[in-house]
Symmetry: C2
Subunit: 186 residues, 2 copies
Amino acid sequence: MARVIAEREDVIPMLAEIFRAYGFEGASLARISEGTKLGKGSIYHFFPGGKEEMAQAVLEQVDQWFKQHVFDALLERADAMEGIKAMFDDVSRYFLSGRRVCLVGVFALGNERDRFANRVRDYFAAWIDALAAALVRTGRTPQEASALAKEVVGGIQGALVLSRALDQTDVFTDILHTLQARLLTS
Amino acid sequence: MARVIAEREDVIPMLAEIFRAYGFEGASLARISEGTKLGKGSIYHFFPGGKEEMAQAVLEQVDQWFKQHVFDALLERADAMEGIKAMFDDVSRYFLSGRRVCLVGVFALGNERDRFANRVRDYFAAWIDALAAALVRTGRTPQEASALAKEVVGGIQGALVLSRALDQTDVFTDILHTLQARLLTS
DNA sequence: GTCTATAGAGTGATAGAC
DNA sequence: GTCTATCACTCTATAGAC
């Protein structure tokens, strides 16, 4: 038995979905073992630090995904408006039009926040900074840009809460369209 | 020995803070016992249905608070604008300027949502409907009013996520001011 | 033999229910 | 307080690639 069936990298997305669904405390090793189809031995082989290390790895991967797909487009695209449009497209796809929640948002609301405070803060700070920088390039003042960026990033998190609460994905897409329209006009 | 130290009604607000802080699964009986200064026996005397009944009682009380303070002001004040202003004041006070999270929002994001789906849905639906009705009375079309109400209620939830993530209460109050300004002008 | 990925019995602690 | 189930985690034992 036992040759390479999975690698650490392959396990992280599965862990992400489990932490998303159950939070940090609710993600029991039984659920993780079931969700990854891995025995405890394999799990602790990949993550000797236990659940803490698993969550760190997941947050790290979320960070990297947003950095590559969202933040870099906002910061580096020659046309800032195009970068902002790309952000909304990527975010809508990433959150499956509201059916998937934001792991960092879930952690921010729970007592997990204290344990992962730096990562949670940095994730949102990086997003707000990147969006604000793009908005400055569209002609906003830094003050306007910062306030708008916070409103939009917060609005996206709220849209996730609301669409899940009402169980209507169109609430998520409607709010995202409204937010996008506010950034691209005036 | 054993005289009435607490009543069921007195326990509910304490339970609310525990569920807020730890979520449904994270609110262990040990934490509940410690937070309420009640033995397990007393807890099960008040809530024979266990944690499920405790959470239902808490959600019920949250519903009633919002109905009395927020929804009724929105629906019944002669001056709809005044009702909207009162909503923002009450909400800002209720959430302690962002330091306290929304219990229903926390439940909406977690797998608790399925267990309490009706209550979670009804809470947000009632809020959105009451705000939209007030906005119609300020001269908006029903379509505008509904979209704006969803954006604002979602925006408040997002402001809670963001202010906790960044650990800055002024993010919450800033976003609420922006949302309020959007409703009271144009 | 060594190394890595696997499975899972077994640990004490703690869970919720009563 | 007592119950059983489950918790996170440890440890031993395996199989196959070098």
